[in-house]
């Protein structure tokens, strides 16, 4: 498998980041997963974390190195995550089960398969055009389908946050499964939370990511999206995959999985580290100081060598 991948989560203006995302791959199969823990409910971030971890762990148990049935894997994992959240709430005697949305995608043998619950989305772009996407399990999407409101009214609608399917909810989740979708080199797969899609229409995402190496365009996209979110900006997260080898100039950024042994996995979980920047403390380190620091460290190493 050859692909280029980017993932990032930003807190926006919220106190906590309740989005979680991760990808993992074996030699022959790639899994992407994004979850948006539901604010207003207890432990949204816990829910998102549990869902993402469960996908990763099940993948590592079952992708040896391919999944027998990717769609079944996705469906089972969603259900298992839903049940796990219930058990978790039980275990800690929580009054309310932690809840989360979830969108996950498996890519195997040049085919993509995906599943989602709630309003975290997947877009599949080919040559700048949208060829596949998830349909939100939300009240506004329902209103759009019924022709009651237009698609452009979705992001400002007062009920835009109401979703009727989630993991950890009182009723079993509605899980939408995609078809087995063949991929071509250059296809872009984008998984994102509502923090991104509510401020960045799908056409604009396509335009921003097409024609530029995704490792350059994606960080810009996220920065811009966070700005657009404004003072009330929600958490926003994205995983972007460009399928196939990059063009010559970008070759070093392509992930090549053939070097992975059977039974080996590479996993990246966005740990949403907090980095505090204290302005004013910066001062340049001179060449002299660098040399001195190195000499000091080398002397110490020698002194303590036994």
């Amino acid at each position: 498998m050859r692909f280029t991948i980017f993932q990032e989560s930003r807190k926006g203006q919220r106190k906590v980041n309740q989005d979680r995302l991760a990808y993992t791959y074996s030699r022959d199969t790639l899994l992407l997963v994004v979850a948006d823990g539901m604010g207003g409910h207890v432990g949204g971030e816990i829910a998102a974390q549990i869902a993402v971890r469960l996908f990763i762990e099940r993948f590592q148990q079952e992708a040896k190195p391919t999944l027998k049935n990717p769609l079944k894997f996705l469906q089972d994992s969603m259900l298992r995550a839903h049940q796990a959240l219930g058990s978790y709430a039980n275990q800690f005697s929580m009054l309310e089960t932690p809840r989360t949305t979830c969108v996950a995608c498996v890519i195997q043998s040049n085919y993509a398969y995906w599943a989602h619950v709630g309003d975290s989305r997947l877009y599949l772009f080919r040559q700048g055009g949208l060829i596949g996407q998830t349909k939100d399990h939300s009240k506004v999407q329902y209103l759009v389908d019924q022709g009651i409101i237009g698609a452009n009214e979705v992001v400002d609608h007062p009920d835009r946050n109401k979703i009727f399917s989630c993991l950890g909810g009182l009723v079993d989740p509605v899980i939408d499964l995609s078809r087995r979708t063949p991929l071509r080199n250059g296809d872009l797969i984008v998984l994102c939370t509502d923090g991104l899609w509510s401020v960045y229409p799908q056409e604009e995402i396509a335009r921003a990511l097409t024609g530029t190496p995704i490792l350059k365009s994606s960080p810009t996209l996220m920065r811009e999206a966070e700005l657009r979110g404004g003072p009330e900006g929600d958490n926003l997260s994205v995983i972007v995959v460009r399928w196939g080898p990059e063009t010559l100039a970008d070759e070093p950024t392509t992930t090549i999985t053939e070097t992975l042994g059977l039974g080996e996995f590479q996993t990246e979980i966005d740990r949403t580290l907090t980095l505090t920047d204290r302005k004013g403390a910066q001062r340049d380190l001179t060449d002299d100081e660098i040399e001195r620091a190195i000499a000091e460290i080398q002397a110490t190493i020698k002194r303590y060598r036994r």
């Binding site: 907090t274 460290i297 190493i301």
Partner: protein
Amino acid sequence: MGVTNQALPSGYQLLNYRIDRQISRGGFSIVYRAFDDGGGPVAIKEYLPSSLVLRTEGDIVRASTAENLTSFRYGMKCFFEEGRALAKINHPNVVRVLNFFRANETVYMVMRYERGRTLQQQIQMRQDQVSERLVRHVFMHLLNGLREVHTHKLLHLDIKPANVYLRTDGSPVLLDFGAARQTLTNTRPKLAPMYTPGFAAPEQYREPDRLGPWTDVYGIGASMFACLAAFAPQAADARLSEDHLVSAKKIWAGAYSDNVLEVIDWCLRLDPHERPQSVFALQKAIRDIPPRKRKLTFLDTLKKKLFSEVV
């Protein structure tokens, strides 16, 4: 994250080391496996912050703007702190620095190469509950290493399962001293503190003047909690406003000895004064009471089963 810095290629000769492959990539560095003159494996950490794109081809690190150069040099101080901290410590449970040098317009730290996996991976890969024996074994040895660190008037400040390496023989090694600080000097740390939610103590967020051995003790407690739970406890800053953390003693009653559970809860106290004040005090608490053995009741087994569904 948008990492576009290019790693050194396999076979690259770096002084008297030959790069074999990239092992990992962090926010501030790339770690490679390499071989020394005698063909022995070493781990080499290259200072190369991922937030600054400084090398898109070749081997030389170049700052494209004056501003970039300032940030690059500034972060280098952090790397030196780590080198200084580790150079002094020669302990089986602390990663050993073998060399430190400048090349390609950046700096490199050569460390002993260890085989095994991180405690984090161990937790993630386990099929069922981590045994008390394993928890005791890993943390008793780890605390020996940490005690040595504290003896040198250093604090680790980023203790978490991802920074604990388990050798193939099961012995732990404390890694990644990127956040370590000298505590003897009176100057407040000037570098941007970086902490991991769930494992960082409350005083790391708010009161950098109150850092002490008890700060690492919190990280130890959180890591032990994570071993049992397979996820981190609630982040300390969130706990300060609304503490949802359920005590280990409540969650795992019966599944582990009261001693171990009480120790975890003790380490995770929000008030630094209420935690064990030194690694020695903590070790004494763990050692004092021998692990209590009792058979699992039906209810325990059920609880355990339910819980294993979660992770």
